[in-house]
């Protein structure tokens, strides 16, 4: 099929090129002057949009998903019990955990009855999705703010337990430990009547969803057909 032909009809001010170009020049000039003024400011962070990286770092979100760390509790005990939930939930399969029993006389070092004997994270595989953090029942593994993870060898990118604990110490020293995540309020398991009331109260768009919902999770049911408006 032939392509549609577009007639180009521009107003005269556009057709002569120059007027709009001069307007554009005015705009870039405004930015030019503004930034020249900024660039005489003191300090590394002069032009507001640019960060002079090593000297001048942008604030990092407290929620940042960076280098992992193994947490200790207030008494300095390791939280990890080596259950391996993180390893199982990891989409990149980068965590290996070996469960172990604390050695005789070292029970004080661990918060739980068991501990992880070995904990390695292959940072070359990690995709920083944060699922391990979410899966951990003890809050032992946390993704911190470490983001300068370049190394000279591949071996150095495989973090062992000592490295992960050191990450924690460094973060604690720097005061960048992640705040405890707020608990996400979960929809209460709906008693039948409450659910019906709720879905009735909900506005029109939810109608379809609500109708679908009425099927109940996991139960086959006749799908509502008249729910399309």
């Amino acid at each position: 099929m032939p392509k549609p032909v577009v007639k180009k009809e521009y107003p005269l001010t556009v057709r002569v090129y120059l007027i709009e170009i001069i307007k554009g020049l005015g705009l870039t000039w405004k930015h030019f002057v503004k930034n020249i003024r900024y660039s005489f400011r003191k300090g590394p962070h002069t032009v507001p949009t640019t960060w002079q990286y090593p000297e001048d770092r942008r604030p990092i979100s407290p929620n940042f998903r960076g280098a992992h760390m193994l947490m200790l509790n207030d008494r300095g005990q390791e939280l990890c019990v080596g259950c391996g939930m993180c390893a199982r939930t990891c989409p990149a399969k980068c965590i290996t955990v070996k469960r172990g029993k604390p050695a005789e006389g070292e029970e004080d070092r661990y918060a739980g009855k068991t501990c992880c004997e070995d904990f390695t994270i292959d940072m070359l595989r990690c995709i920083f999705c944060g699922f391990c953090e979410e899966a951990c029942p003890k809050g032992a593994i946390v993704l911190g703010q470490g983001h300068e993870l370049a190394e000279y060898t591949m071996e150095a990118c495989i973090y062992d337990k000592a490295r992960l604990l050191a990450n924690y110490e460094a973060a604690r020293a720097a005061g960048t430990l992640k705040p405890k995540p707020k608990k996400v309020p979960v929809d209460a398991p709906p008693p039948k009547a409450a659910a019906a009331k709720k879905s009735a109260a909900k506005a029109a768009p939810a109608a379809r969803k609500a109708a679908k919902d009425a099927n109940g999770a996991g139960k086959e049911a006749k799908s509502p057909e008249g729910d399309k408006k």
């Binding site: 679908k212 086959e220 006749k222 799908s223 509502p224 008249g226 399309k228």
Partner: protein
């Protein structure tokens, strides 16, 4: 009239099975009639499924294997009808090709399925109806090995040309079979 009835009226005997799950209507039609079925669906005034959303293959190898293992399991959803027939007859065709259609006027969606046995992978192309089926058919060929009869350029799309397997088949291992691509320069 509900969509189901309209589709049944339009296609008549061509509907082998109708499934419905979460409001998504799916019909199964005979493999040989797919072009005529889709044309009728497109041109029927009450339906007007004039937009091809997608086209893809499904490999049901594991699905049947699992079914056989646990015949007691309550069949949920669309498989119910099919399963009852299956128990008696020969094993069902391994592959499926699913066509997702949409009617732009009414915003209804419809899944049309055909079953493709492993020993007869030829399917009629629908690029004659929708040009949009061009790459999806190539991809289905690439990933499952369907041979779309009449497709003007049935080459591999995502894998390289010398690749021999069909990676989305269930018997193809996730980590591959160690194929390497050898590039040759002149």
């Amino acid at each position: 009239m509900s969509l189901k009835e309209r589709v049944q009226r339009c296609l008549g005997d061509d509907v082998i099975a109708i499934t419905e799950y979460r409001g998504d209507l799916g019909i199964e039609v005979p493999k040989g009639n797919i072009v005529s079925v889709l044309t009728r669906l497109k041109e029927d005034e009450t339906l007007g499924f004039d937009f091809l959303t997608d086209l893809f293959g499904v490999d049901n190898l594991d699905y049947y294997a699992k079914k056989k293992k646990k015949p007691k399991k309550k069949a949920a959803g669309e498989e119910e009808l099919v399963e009852e027939e299956e128990d008696k007859g020969p094993p069902p065709p391994r592959f499926e090709v699913v066509y997702l259609l949409q009617a732009l006027k009414t915003n209804e969606r419809l899944q049309v399925k055909i079953r493709v046995p492993e020993d007869d992978m030829e399917v009629d192309t629908i690029t004659t109806i929708w040009k949009a089926a061009d790459w999806p058919e190539r991809e289905a060929f690439d990933m499952f090995g369907f041979k779309f009869r009449g497709h003007h350029n049935l080459r591999r799309l995502l894998m390289w040309d010398e690749f021999e397997d069909h990676p989305l088949r269930k018997d193809y291992p996730l980590e591959g079979k160690g194929e390497e691509r050898h590039l040759s320069y002149d």
